[in-house]
Every structure is written in structure tokens, then in C-alpha cells.
Amino acid sequence: MNAIRVENLTKRYGANEVLKGVNLKVDEGEFYALMGPNGSGKTTLASIIASVRVPTSGSVDIYGRKSWEAKEWIGYVPQENFSSPKLTGRENLVYFARLLGYSGSQAESLVNEMLGRIGMSADADKRVGKYSGGMRKRLEVATALFPGVRILILDEPTTGLDPSARRKFLGLVEEVKDKQTTIFLITHLGSDAELASRVGLIDNGKIIAEGEPEALKRLHGLGDVITVETAVKSDKVADVLRNFSDEKRLLETEAGYRIYCKHGDKVLPELVRNLDQIGGKVTRIEVAKPSLEDVFFKLTEKTVTEVS
């Protein structure tokens, strides 16, 4: 049985169609990441699955039940920091435990156990207003891990965290969840999405590709990615780079350019020579394997972060 099954889901706000017939299946215990730029509809989709919004048409089933009949199985962590900064970490968790129907003493002992699982026992009695962004997010994830939760929906949980805190955070989520718990992660970061067992790419209200991270990269024929930074950006530099890129694709980034070619290492010397000839002084050049952001760019001609 699918943990999440979304069929022909649409969502309209007036004339603006945010979701355009989304179909999605996530299996029990799977770590599924939905990646796309801001405005692509991913947060709307997550909030409909979590029963915070209602769809215009289509359906969402959670283990065969309608989503609003399965609230006790869903642990939803919205993008915003929803924990109360005036309460301590422990008081916040006790508040959520009590909302879920635990008595005072049951809530206390359950919260002690959860604080241990997320490694926050030492900071439990500090007010949340004094927590770092990463600590606060960990606490908020704990509010979604009470017994009975089978699907954890995380909406951009690593926004505002530095890369190492991000990896640590997502590692912790994997560690603390039960084996049967399904994770549905919303992100615009390829590095976060790569931790998932399956990734869906969403753009303009539609899922445009889906699969295991490595399979997605292979499937879309991305060989190597060459990142080039030159002293000065110019049309001439861009033209040279485009000539070395498969399908003439060139992605302009803040610091330079990215191109895609089957055998990056082999073309590198010639590429540098050609740039030298037109006076494009290379300050940094790197050949790497493609990321999910590159797959997204190949499919949409847009960058995830650029649109964000």
C-alpha cells in the first residue's frame, strides 16, 4: 500500500493555477524529496497532503484514507518556525504532546525520551528564543515524531542553515525516524534532495521528472559539469563556452558559468586555450559530476535557485 497517493490534484487561487494535475505515489518507509523553485507549487502540495489546504480537484490518500481522516498519522513541519520563543524547548514539546491527548505525566516522560532522541536534553530548559536556527528546527521536527506518526512532511526544513548544519540535520531526521516512517521532504536544494531515495522535480505546478537521484542524472544524459569563472564575464566568453557544451547549453551563475559535456576532463585544456585566445582570463575551473539542480536546469532551462 502507498503511504501517500496523490491523483490528478489541482489547486487554483482565482485565475492562478498553482497545481496542474499532480500525480504522485510514495511508498511506506521511503524518503521522498520534492524539489523545485519557489512558486512551483511544492509547498501548496505539502500543505494539501497535510490537510492544511483543500485541493480544487483531485484526491490525496494516506494509507488508503482521505488525508483529513488520517491526521494522526501525519507529522507536518511547516517552513516557518512555529515553536513559541517564549517557552522552553521542553514546554513546547509538552504543549504538543498535550494537544495530542497525553496526560501531564505521560507527556513529561514522552518528551524526556524525545529530547534524548534529538540530542537536546541539555538545552531542553532554555527558552526557544535563545536557540540557534538548527536547534529550533530539530525541536520542531520532534513535534512531528510523536508515536503514531507514519508520515513526516518537512517543508524546507534546512532554509537558513549552513551546509554542515543542513547535512547534520537531515542525518538526524534519518536517524530518529522509525524504519516504517515515510519522509516527504520539500526543498529547493539539490544537496538536500540527494539524500532522498527518490526525488520528484516540480515546476510550474507539474511534476516534470521523478526517480532515484543517480538515475535521474543518468537518464537525462548529463556527463560532467564544468564550472568556469573568468576575470570578466562577456558574450565572447559565453560563446566559447557554449561551443564546448552538449546541446549548446550554458548556465550563467553569479560567479561565472556552468556547461555540460560528456568528457569534461578531455576538453579542459582546449577550453582554457580557447578562452585565453579571446582574453578570457580563467580564475577558477572545475570538473564535477552533475547535481539535481543541473537536471532541473536541463529540463526547464531554469535554475532552482535563480527562480527562488
Partner: protein, 257 residues
């Protein structure tokens, strides 16, 4: 029951830990009790000064209850909406009604604490009340109406004003302006006749006069508000505001889009 207890505990802790809430609900009314007790009674005959102090204490107690309901409650709701807590709650198997009851009980408990402190300071400043046990019970009943009406207005503000600062400014503005124009900061007799009419209709001002009348009589209240028509109107409007606020809060703040 545990859902109500959870919402109650969160609400009262947040009120007690927010400096702005403590200032407007406790320190500000106490400051006015002090000023009213020692500055504004300078020209009054000595024998009625303790009762004027009593009237000031009751008015400031009512003002504290108004601020708690009209400003603190909507700020609390707006903060929960702004920081995503309401979205989180909507995704959980919990009832909006229980959340509401917990919040209102938290508000009531905090209001009682503020009221007790204001009365204690008033008594320490020499406030006296000439009344019977029945009068005290009547006054408590009228003060409960203040909590109902204020909570109702607060729920309306919290439902329609989406952001914390907007909710605070609107709430404080409504509480201060309506208090000023309905004779909470001055004797009823000093109000122009149109505002005297307003003071008889506006439920918190009317309940304030009723409480003063029950505790100190007509001379200090400025008129006799204890009539069937005024009491009925005050009760009806207070209950109506609370019911309207509750219905709109449950429907709009907890509405899935």
C-alpha cells in the same frame, strides 16, 4: 481535557513572559491607580477620597481586563498565525473549540492575576469600598462581563488583523480610545451627554459603572446604571461579542483554504 490544558498553559506562560503584555496589563493600570489616588483627588473632600480611590481602582482593573482581552489575546492569535503555528495545528487531530477554550481560560486566569494586583495596589493606596456581600458578588459578575466582551472584541481583532504588530496596535488603540471616551479615566459627570450615552451602551464601560455602583453607590458611579434595561443590554452585548468572536475565530482562523 488535555488539549484545553495544553492551550491554557501555553497562553498563560506566554502572557507572563512578554514584557509588553506585563507593562500594558499590569504596570500601566497600577501607574494610573497611583496617579489617580494621589494626584487627581487633591481637591476632593477628605471623607470621599477613599471611595474615589476605590472607583479609580475599579476603573483601572476594568482597563487591565480590557487590555488583556482586546490587545493581548489578538496579539497571541496573530503571532501563532504569523509563525505558522495555526497551520501546524490544522494538520493535527485537534479541535479548534478546545484550543479556543484553553486560550480563553488562560486569558481569564491572567486577567484575574492582573486584577488582583491592581486591587492590592489600590487598597494599599487607601481605596475603600462600602458594600455588602451581594454587592461584591454583583461586581464580580459585572467584571466577568468585561472579560467576555473584551475577549469577544479581541477574537474579532485577532481574526481579521493578520500580523502581530497590527493586532497589538489595533487592540491597544481600541482599548485606550474607548476607555477614554467612555469615562474610564474621568468621572461620568465630566463626559458630554453624547459620550454619556455611549458609556451606557458600550459593554465594558457599562460594566465598569455597574461594578462601581455595586461597590460604592450612585454618588461615586455618577448615575444609577443598575436598571433592567442597562443590565440586560450589557449582558446581551457582552455575550453577543464573545459568541461572534468565537464563531469567526473558529471559522476563519482555522479555515482550510
Amino acid at each position: 481535557m488535555s488539549q484545553i490544558a495544553g492551550a491554557f498553559s501555553k497562553t498563560i506562560k506566554e502572557f507572563l513572559r512578554e514584557r509588553a503584555v506585563l507593562f500594558w496589563t499590569i504596570a500601566w493600570p497600577i501607574l494610573w491607580v497611583l496617579i489617580g489616588s494621589f494626584v487627581f483627588v487633591a481637591g476632593a473632600p477628605k471623607e470621599i477620597v477613599p471611595y474615589l480611590r476605590g472607583a479609580t481602582t475599579i476603573s483601572m482593573l476594568v482597563f487591565a481586563l480590557m487590555i488583556a482581552g482586546i490587545a493581548n489575546l489578538p496579539a497571541n492569535i496573530a503571532a501563532d498565525r504569523e509563525n505558522g503555528l495555526l497551520a501546524k495545528l490544522m494538520s493535527m487531530p485537534i479541535s479548534p473549540r478546545k484550543d479556543f477554550v484553553g486560550r480563553i481560560l488562560g486569558l481569564a486566569a491572567f486577567s484575574c492575576l492582573a486584577a488582583a494586583l491592581v486591587i492590592a495596589v489600590g487598597l494599599a493606596c487607601g481605596a475603600r469600598f462600602s458594600t455588602t456581600n451581594t454587592g461584591v458578588l454583583q461586581a464580580v459578575g459585572f467584571l466577568l462581563l468585561v472579560i467576555c466582551a473584551s475577549a469577544g472584541i479581541g477574537l474579532l481583532v485577532g481574526t481579521f488583523i493578520k500580523h502581530v504588530h497590527g493586532a497589538v496596535m489595533t487592540g491597544v488603540g481600541i482599548a485606550v480610545v474607548t476607555s477614554a471616551v467612555s469615562g474610564m479615566f474621568m468621572p461620568y459627570s465630566a463626559l458630554p451627554s453624547s459620550l454619556q450615552q455611549f458609556a451606557r451602551v458600550y459593554p465594558t464601560a457599562s460594566a465598569n459603572s455597574l461594578a462601581i455602583y455595586a461597590l460604592m453607590g450612585e454618588e461615586i458611579a455618577g448615575y444609577n446604571p443598575l436598571t433592567v434595561s442597562q443590565v440586560s443590554l450589557t449582558v446581551a452585548l457582552s455575550v453577543f461579542l464573545l459568541v461572534l468572536g468565537t464563531v469567526l475565530y473558529s471559522r476563519r482562523c482555522w479555515r482550510t483554504e
